[in-house]
Amino acid sequence: MNDLPLLGAHDMARFAARGFLRMDAVVPPDINAQFLREMGDIAPPEPGRKLRRTYGEMLANAGVPEVGAGVPLAQTYPQGSAMARMLALPVVAGAIRSLVGDDPVFDHHFLHVTFPPAYHAAGGGENVSQHTHQDSTIDPRQAFDLQIMYYPHDVTRDMGGTRFIPGTHLRKVSEAALGRYQNIRGQQHMVCEAGTLLFLHSGIWHGGGVNLSERTRTMFKVRINPGSSQVAKFDLSTLERPTGQRPIFYLKGPQPLSVEQILMTPEPWFEDDTGRLEFVNRVKFWRYLTGDAGYDADYWLTRLENLATA
């Protein structure tokens, strides 16, 4: 267990700043094929047949175990199943440990399938994308859950892969209250090869896209809680130890890549003033992730914490 490939400081900072990490095609083809076999076939469209019925039957027949929330992740999937094999991949287990610590706990999972136009036409429903939302409910914690999105087959743009907005994960909102936001600058749509994993902070704003292709799109989501501390669980040996604050505002050229550079990179949707609050909150989040209560980047918290009392 101790030789797992943990996330390095820069990848951890990218997760802290943007709320996601993407691993393209890391799950081998034989596991992807096994997963799709375990999920079973989906009935073809049939005139008059409601999509809800098709979906319900598919969920009932799929080889996904019903598991109570709160079970250790290691006990969630049968040994030898595609999910157990996927979660045991060293690169996956290392990322999970880096993000939620030594004792990951299963929260829930779901088999997300988006259906092509023929199913909606047959059932009389409208083929639309899912409203943008944040999962669960208002979550004021500094701690966070991890959501792994597993794409077992190639996803093309017209299949409507998961849409998400990098950097929204530190916003405290109430689930679908943000449904009125159709498009946000910098939004990303998952287009990927089979076996791609998307690791999401539980607070990130996201939604399923509309499937305009001719085949169903399958994505499996697992939500994982930290069962113990998630502080300083990444590869600390890769953490730079700057001796002081770097120059700010007046700069003669681009700055070298560093944790600070990653944390202080804005998203295209940042508002002028709250974009600065995002930086403040990223610094606070990095303090949490590293256990370094005195950390700062670009002087944002040092300035605010100077109470002029000394």
Partner: protein, 91 residues
């Protein structure tokens, strides 16, 4: 019959001529169907550009004081501007 088409722009600050960072459209004529994720580029660069193109502003979000203790909390997009166009459609 008259029908309303609505454009919602989210701007970078409270000025109407600041940059668009988010947008939504709802077409009451039924001529188009907009939905989440249907465009990656904004329809206008700023709110002012929407005015110049004939959109009529009918609501803007207020500037509210920050609650003590929650000054650094971020949640919903802050600078929301609602525009409309009215058009005649056949009965």
């Amino acid at each position: 019959m008259r029908r309303q088409t609505v454009l919602v722009l989210y701007l970078a600050n409270s000025a109407l001529d600041s940059a668009v960072v988010g947008w939504s459209r709802y077409d009451g004529t039924g001529g188009t169907r907009h939905m989440a994720g249907d465009a990656d580029e904004p329809p206008y660069r700023t709110g002012l550009d929407a005015l110049k193109d004939g959109w009529r502003l009918f609501q803007a979000s207020q500037l509210l004081p920050h609650q003590r203790g929650g000054e650094f909390d971020v949640s919903y997009l802050k600078y929301e501007f609602w525009f409309e166009q009215l058009s005649e459609v056949e009965a």
